[in-house]
């Protein structure tokens, strides 16, 4: 007897009890879909995190450690020392900044309070930001303490009704000095309430503070040499601040990379955990198939007896019930895959509309293959045992079964 014949008989068997077959499949469908959807969301989140924070991977952030009593301030001299290529060969750029708060006034009325950053010309690159209009100040303007300012989206919203084009070229008063708006930053969702100007200008006209800098951002030559760059930075500052033991340091130097790694590790663990929970529901679905196959075989013992009495061999019976189980879990698996992919894409699209920058779920081929494989294998086992038992029965025993 051919496989094709077995398949036809099996499918007729399943159709004979459509509701039960459908409910059994539902278990598998939900399990497979859940695995796919949850892994897709986890993946999307990881991709998003890597994309959003990836450019920060070669940065080291240095600030004064406020908890150490008598901690020395970070100064311009520290910055110059960090820029020495012989002492910090793994460092590509050093960007100091001062920060404070200031009130911005428009000549025609209108005022907003915002945080103020004084920095150097490579700020955009170091802070991984972009402009919507205009330009950033250049190295020349930075050295000359030019009275120019680049505004973040929040002050532009308050002062210019969000019209970045109108802000460009306007004169604004900050403190007692007039600055020209030369550019507008694109929002990044974290630091939008901001105004950025040359470091020297911020010190001279607004914040004071001599040669003190609030923080220093160091960019390593590449993400791979971040550990070396970190060691070199610490060595320079230890020497300048007279530190002998690492635990006595009065500054903190943190590689963002290690934060990112920790973050993405946590995400991976969460994804695995959630996928595991989904996997359990897949397992439960598969146990449903096993249960139904057991019931089916017991219930249809008489049918098995009839089939054997009219000439069915062991293999024919085995094939029939194996195929029934495989169709249940296979068709359930395929529907589950379609549903899982559909839900991932659909929910991704809807949430993408509702939530700004919602990370798009990314269906992973691995999760599809795994979920489908698991459902098939369990279907095979679940169908295999009762099918084997049924197929081995003596026809007379099967026929006598009530």
């Amino acid at each position: 007897m051919s496989l094709w014949e077995s398949a036809r008989i099996a499918i007729r068997g399943l159709r004979g009890n459509t509701l039960r077959s459908a409910l059994t499949m539902l278990g598998i469908i939900i399990g497979v879909a859940a695995v796919i959807v949850l892994v897709a969301f986890g993946n999307g989140l990881q991709t998003y995190v890597a994309g959003a924070f990836g450019p920060l991977a070669n940065q080291i952030q240095i600030t004064k450690d406020q908890q150490v009593t008598g901690a020395k301030d970070l100064t311009d001299a520290d910055v110059r020392a960090l820029r020495s290529p012989s002492r910090t060969p793994a460092v590509a750029a050093v960007n100091p900044s001062v920060s404070g708060a200031a009130s911005i006034q428009l000549a025609g009325g209108g005022q907003v309070r915002t945080s103020l950053t004084g920095t150097e010309a490579d700020y955009l690159e170091v802070a991984n930001r972009e402009l919507v209009v205009g330009s950033f100040f250049d190295a020349q303007q930075a050295t000359n303490k030019a009275k120019v300012v680049v505004l973040g989206p929040n002050p532009v919203a308050t002062l210019f009704g969000g019209q970045a084009g109108e802000a460009l070229g306007e004169q604004v008063r900050i403190g007692r000095t007039t600055f020209r708006v030369i550019g507008v930053l694109a929002g990044n969702g974290q630091q939008d309430d901001i105004a950025v100007m040359p470091l020297g200008a911020a010190r001279s006209y607004l914040l004071g503070g001599g040669d003190v800098v609030s923080s220093i951002t160091v960019r390593a030559v590449s993400p791979e040499v971040v550990p070396q760059a970190l060691e070199q930075v610490q060595a320079v500052l230890d020497q300048r601040h007279g530190i002998r033991e690492p635990q006595d340091r009065d500054f903190s130097a943190t590689a963002l990379q290690s934060l990112l790694d920790q973050f993405s590790q946590v995400l991976t663990i969460v994804t695995i955990f959630v996928a595991g929970v989904a996997g359990i529901s897949l397992l439960v679905g598969s146990i449903g198939v096993a249960n139904i196959m057991l019931v089916t075989v017991t219930e249809r013992t008489r049918e098995i007896g009839i089939r054997k009495a009219i000439g069915a061999r062991y293999r024919a019976i085995l094939q029939q019930f194996l195929i029934e189980a495989m169709v249940l879990s296979g068709v359930g698996g395929i529907i589950g895959i379609l549903l899982g992919i559909g839900l991932s894409l659909g929910a991704g699209a809807v949430l993408g509309q509702l939530v700004d920058e919602f990370p798009a779920p990314a269906v992973s081929v691995g999760s599809v293959v795994l979920a489908f494989g698991v459902s098939l294998v369990i279907g095979l086992l679940a169908g295999g045992f009762p099918a084997n038992r049924a197929a081995r029965m003596r026809p007379i025993d099967a026929l006598r079964h009530q």
């Binding site: 007897m1 014949e5 008489r302 049918e303 007896g305 089939r307 054997k308 000439g311 069915a312």
Partner: protein, 222 residues
């Protein structure tokens, strides 16, 4: 040609063992129509199941067309059932929720026969149910169901048809219909063994074997 030589069948349930067939020796030649009679529990079905290769003897030997059946594997027994034997049961044993024609096709599916549709149709016409092919068992009367079962038994063209109380669940008219079918099939050359405890049914047979307590106590030809 059926040859039972000193066949016994012992059922053991726990400590008790029951000799359902006790040293039975019986030959049935090709083309005979034999009725097996005897009181309930006398071992008729047990003997029939052994003849039909649904069960194997505990002792003694069974030769079917000169070939010993004992020692055949389950698969070889399935092949023997498929090629040589057609079975008719008291309780019809049709597959539920399955049309008459599919029920009749089934033995051919397992035997790998071709032209199944056409042959199943012919078999149903032969038992007078050519217009009921798509009916499911629960849409047919008992007599019609049993005729479907007869069609299923004869569709593979077996040399031997075994029927265990085929008319036990039928009314008089249906009984006569089914028995006439068996007589026709026998006249076409098939060996037919049927169990009954109705003397009117046994009337149709040329030979009546009587069992009691697992032993043959009568074997008369007419």
């Amino acid at each position: 040609m059926i040859e039972l030589e000193h066949v016994s069948k012992v059922y053991s349930t726990g400590a008790v063992s029951l000799r359902a067939l006790d040293d039975v020796t019986l030959r049935i030649g090709n083309g005979e129509l034999v009725a097996v009679m005897g009181p309930s529990g006398s071992g008729k079905s047990t003997m029939m199941n052994i003849l039909g290769c649904l069960d194997v003897p505990s002792e003694g030997s069974y030769l079917l067309d000169g070939e010993p059946v004992a020692g055949l594997s389950e698969n070889r027994l399935a092949d023997v059932r498929s090629r040589k034997i057609g079975f008719v049961f008291q309780s019809f044993n049709l597959l539920p929720r399955t049309s008459a024609i599919r029920n009749v096709e089934l033995p051919m599916v397992y035997a790998g026969t071709s032209n199944r549709r056409r042959r199943a149709q012919q078999a149903l016409e032969r038992v007078g149910l050519g217009d009921r092919t798509d009916h499911q068992p629960n849409q047919l009367s008992g007599g019609q169901q049993q005729r479907v079962a007869v069609a299923r038994a004869l569709v593979t063209d077996p040399a031997m048809i075994l029927a265990d109380e085929p008319t036990g669940n039928l009314d008089t008219t249906s009984t006569v219909d089914v028995m006439n079918l068996f007589v026709e099939l026998n006249e076409a050359g098939r060996t037919i063994v049927l169990i009954t405890h109705e003397p009117e049914v046994a009337e149709f047979a040329q030979r009546v074997v009587t069992l009691r307590d697992g032993r043959i106590v009568g074997d008369e030809r007419r």
